[in-house]
């Protein structure tokens, strides 16, 4: 590879890295404010991971139960996150989610309707009232397509006004960003390559918004698409940003378990929301055994009441199948470990006995399809086999809640799954899509404000040279490590040692093994040339996944408690001392360093939304302000 690699040079006001829900919403906001915006994504436009979301978008519109409101949504979110959420993010999210959903309708989205013609809302785990706006079980597709078509609409307008559809808003599809560039401490742009031909691109821009999604592909069993390689997490770390609470990973309780090739593919929570029940091999509906004390007043402890809830939600407690995901995932894990699992190491999930076949096909069409085509199972007639799958990362870039600005890196923003704080130790279903819209918009607005107040930027030749050398490196080696093999090894390590149940010795082992792979990755070699070369692409993704895995393992070993998406066999209960601590990861150029930082204190008016008895379950006496909370 001695020939000169072509490099394109672009100049924008705002770069949005990621074309999922968060990135697209950010881009719309920045363009509407009059700025020139580039959207960059690894896949084709419209294919981002968000497209897979099924169940819905949580927003307290109160269309089905008018008792709902932002306060209730806020409470559910904090409870779901076990009070480790950044209160301000949870507050903004609960308040703004309805507007973000309604605005999608003005851009062409067609949600399912209630009898009155409003947007229909469905039940989901941890949400007190029916709250998820949805389109069957393909809500993510509707969100992506609506935003994609909104972008096209804006481009058509630009064409009318400026003669060129891409003059103000351009999508660079199948481009991977490998570096966020900085000069004198501030963001100046980003560098990357075209997947199609390996040509390099330099983007100069004063503001960069990370909207790169999650990290699922660091794990062996995951519901995530290949894009979930933690690129934004790693880019932020390398640019001097922090990651908050990377130990919290959500294992969705219901992934497919059979056949092996589909292991991990998601079975939407709507199956349980619509009445699906979980049973073990003895036929026992086991979730009644796993209702934690903090949730006893909200969840039914007997089948009769649980079944009545579907018809009368005001006078009955909800079925325990709808507990927050961490609880259900741990319960399934325990049943399987106790030898009561299904033939392929999961448990049974059944809707066939409770809902007529036509209704199942109408409400859960893609689930029916998925099981029929991939597992040969007809879910209108027989139960599904399900088990936990790595689904979502709660941890992420530490940001300012109001502007989504990454702490410590002027010009860098983060929104969506890549950002941390919003969901605390566990995310409620449906709260991601709403998070994308609320904080995508805020990141766009934050970047606009920032850009208005800053001068044009220039990237130095030295930075360009460094970035280009990094991209060229794997081609210069011969006979080095195979990136596919290293990826599989990493996935084994995370699965076995940093998975759903963790202990100190295993985490220690994981940290050492990850460090060893990181050494080996310096010697990755790829075969072939730069033309659409997946091995070459993976070698970069792999580097990011390793940094993320290191941050997760190092945060997990210090948090000596079990909370939400972090379960320690050696510290099985919540510890109020850890309730007030975030684990902050940073990168010193060689390795990830984790330190603790106090959570910001919730103001009294938000404390007052809770029952004092409930607060006392989570917070220590000293943390509770005088007279806060309401005595019931």
């Amino acid at each position: 590879m001695s020939e000169k690699i072509p490099m394109e040079r672009h100049n924008y006001d705002v770069l949005v890295i990621g074309a999922g829900g968060a990135g697209l919403r950010a881009a719309v906001e920045a363009r509407e404010a009059g700025l020139r915006v580039a959207i960059i994504c690894k896949s084709l436009f419209g294919k981002a991971h968000t497209v897979m979301a099924e169940g819905g978008i949580a927003a307290s519109m109160g269309n089905v139960n008018d008792k709902d409101g932002w306060q209730v949504h806020f409470r559910d979110t904090m409870r779901g996150g076990k009070f480790l959420n950044h209160y301000r993010m949870a507050e903004l999210h609960a308040k703004e989610a309805p507007d973000r959903v309604w605005e999608l309708e003005l851009w062409g989205a067609l949600f399912d309707r209630t009898g009155e013609g409003k947007i229909s809302q469905r039940n989901f785990g941890g949400h007190e009232y029916p709250r998820l706006a949805h389109v069957g079980d393909r809500t993510g597709l509707e969100l992506i397509r609506t935003m994609q078509q909104k972008i096209v609409a804006m481009q058509q307008q630009d064409k009318k006004e400026h003669g060129d559809a891409e003059s103000y808003l351009k999508v660079f599809a199948e481009v991977t960003i490998t570096e966020v560039l900085k000069e004198s401490g501030k963001v100046t742009g980003a560098y990357g390559y075209r997947r199609e031909n390996g040509n390099e691109l330099l983007f100069e821009a004063p503001a960069v918004i990370l909207a790169t999604g999650g990290v699922g592909k660091t794990f062996k069993i995951t519901s995530n698409s290949w894009e979930g390689t933690g690129d934004g997490h790693a880019l932020a770390l390398k640019a001097g940003g922090n990651l908050v609470d990377m130990e919290f990973l959500q294992f969705h309780p219901t992934g497919m378990v059979w056949p092996p090739s589909v292991r991990g593919i998601l079975v939407t929570e709507s199956v349980r929301g619509e009445g699906g029940v979980l049973t073990n091999t003895t036929g026992e509906r086991f979730m009644f055994k796993y209702i934690p004390d903090v949730f006893k007043d909200k969840y039914a402890d007997n089948e009769a009441e649980a079944d009545r809830w579907y018809l009368d939600q005001d006078n009955n407690r909800r079925p325990p199948e709808l507990l927050p995901r961490d609880e259900v995932a741990r319960a399934i894990n325990a049943e399987v470990k106790a030898g009561r699992g299904s033939p392929h190491g999961g448990v049974f999930l059944d809707v066939s006995k409770r809902i007529p076949a036509e209704v199942i096909k109408k409400r859960l069409p893609s689930m029916w399809h998925q099981f029929y085509e991939l597992a040969g199972v007809d879910i209108t007639k027989e139960p599904m086999e399900v088990g936990p799958t790595c689904h979502y990362v709660m941890g992420g870039v530490e940001v300012d809640p109001d502007t989504a600005a990454a702490i410590g890196v002027p010009g860098l923003y983060a929104a969506g799954e890549v950002a941390g704080g919003m969901h605390g130790s566990n995310r409620l279903g449906g709260n991601s899509l709403s998070d994308l819209l609320v904080f995508g918009r805020r990141a766009g607005a934050g970047a606009v404000e920032y850009v208005k107040g800053c001068q044009s930027v220039k990237v130095s030749d030295a930075s360009i040279k460094d970035a280009a050398e990094r991209i060229a490196a794997p081609f210069k080696r011969t006979g080095g490590e195979n990136p596919y093999t290293l990826h599989q090894e990493l996935q084994e390590i995370t699965h076995n040692l940093v998975g759903i149940i963790r202990t100190k010795s295993e985490l220690q082992d994981a940290i050492e093994k990850i460090a060893a792979i990181r050494k080996r990755i310096e010697n990755v070699a790829v075969s072939g040339d730069r033309l659409f070369n997946p091995g070459f692409h993976l070698s970069f993704d792999l580097d990011n996944m390793l940094l993320v895995a290191e941050s997760t393992a190092k945060s997990a070993i210090v948090r000596e408690e079990s909370r939400g998406g972090h379960t320690r066999d050696d510290f099985p209960v919540m510890d109020p001392k850890w309730r007030s601590q975030n684990n902050i990861s940073s990168f010193n150029g060689k390795e990830v360093v984790v330190k603790q930082q106090k959570l910001p204190k919730m103001p009294n008016e938000l404390f007052d939304l809770f029952d004092i008895d409930e607060l006392e379950k989570y917070l220590s006496k000293e943390e509770l302000p005088n007279n806060a909370g309401v005595r019931s």
Partner: protein, 253 residues
């Protein structure tokens, strides 16, 4: 439970290429994308293939398997005969970039040519009321995952590069129909435009697009035919229409 399967994969770029034979392990329940990935990880590190979700939801892994346009992630290896060679080639209607990856930018250009959703001025967020029956027709078309298999199979462009300029293809006929039936869209002339600008008239209702659609969207029956009917304003008779089309070609009409 694993067995060996024989694959014949097209490898090449925009200039040259050829079918290459490989043998690879396949485990129970695996789909074609799984075995392609195994080839990639063990034998051809730079084999180019697009995919994202491996769950039939994103429409990235479109290719031709034994000559049929299909999603590789939804095609079971077990569907093929024991010992049968599975031939895997890139989509034929679009230019090859490398191996199984094609340049599908044609579709994004066509998307740009469709007039966007246009709601009435002054419509306020949160005040929209629509009945379920009224949204359902458009919802069917919004299930589209943009796999472009229907575009690939449609004979109007499959082997006729020259038609691409004037023909938007079935994917965009359902987009036009979706907007035409959208309860909030106020543009009145969508059907006429479909005919005049997007090449609806070139479709002769072979229904091949409907047959390959992985989302089972009734592209012809529910989108194309209703639009054609109303455009010509008479009850639509495919045979008569086909006749008129042929005469038109011959310069009779």
């Amino acid at each position: 439970m694993s067995k060996r399967v024989k694959l014949r994969i097209w490898r090449g770029d925009s200039k040259t290429g050829a079918l290459k034979d490989v043998e690879v392990e396949a485990n129970e329940g695996e789909v074609v994308l799984d075995v392609i990935h195994r080839v990639q990880a063990t034998q051809m590190g730079d084999l180019a293939v697009r995919w994202n979700c491996k769950a039939g939801k994103c429409g990235s892994c479109s290719m031709e398997i034994n000559g049929k346009p299909r999603l590789a992630c939804m095609t079971q290896v077990a569907n093929f005969e024991e010992g049968e060679t599975i031939t895997i080639t890139p989509l034929r209607a679009f230019p090859v970039i490398k191996d199984l990856v094609t340049d599908v930018s044609f579709n994004y250009k066509k998307a740009m040519e469709v007039d966007s959703f246009t709601p009435p001025a002054g419509l306020k967020a949160g005040e929209v009321r629509m009945a379920q029956v009224d949204v359902e027709r458009s919802q069917e078309f919004r299930k589209c995952i943009e796999c472009f298999l229907c575009q690939d199979t449609c004979h109007v462009i499959r082997d006729h590069e020259e038609n691409k300029k004037s023909f938007a293809g079935p994917r965009f006929f359902i987009r036009l129909a979706e907007l035409d039936m959208h309860p909030l869209d106020i543009l009145k002339n969508r059907k006429q435009k479909a005919q005049a600008e997007h090449g609806l008239g070139m479709c002769n209702i072979t229904k091949c697009c409907t047959e390959v659609c992985p989302e089972h969207i009734k592209i012809t029956d529910n989108a194309i035919i209703p639009m054609k009917e109303r455009v010509v304003d008479v009850k639509y008779d495919p045979v008569r229409w086909l006749g008129s089309k042929i005469r038109k070609r011959e310069g009779i009409v």
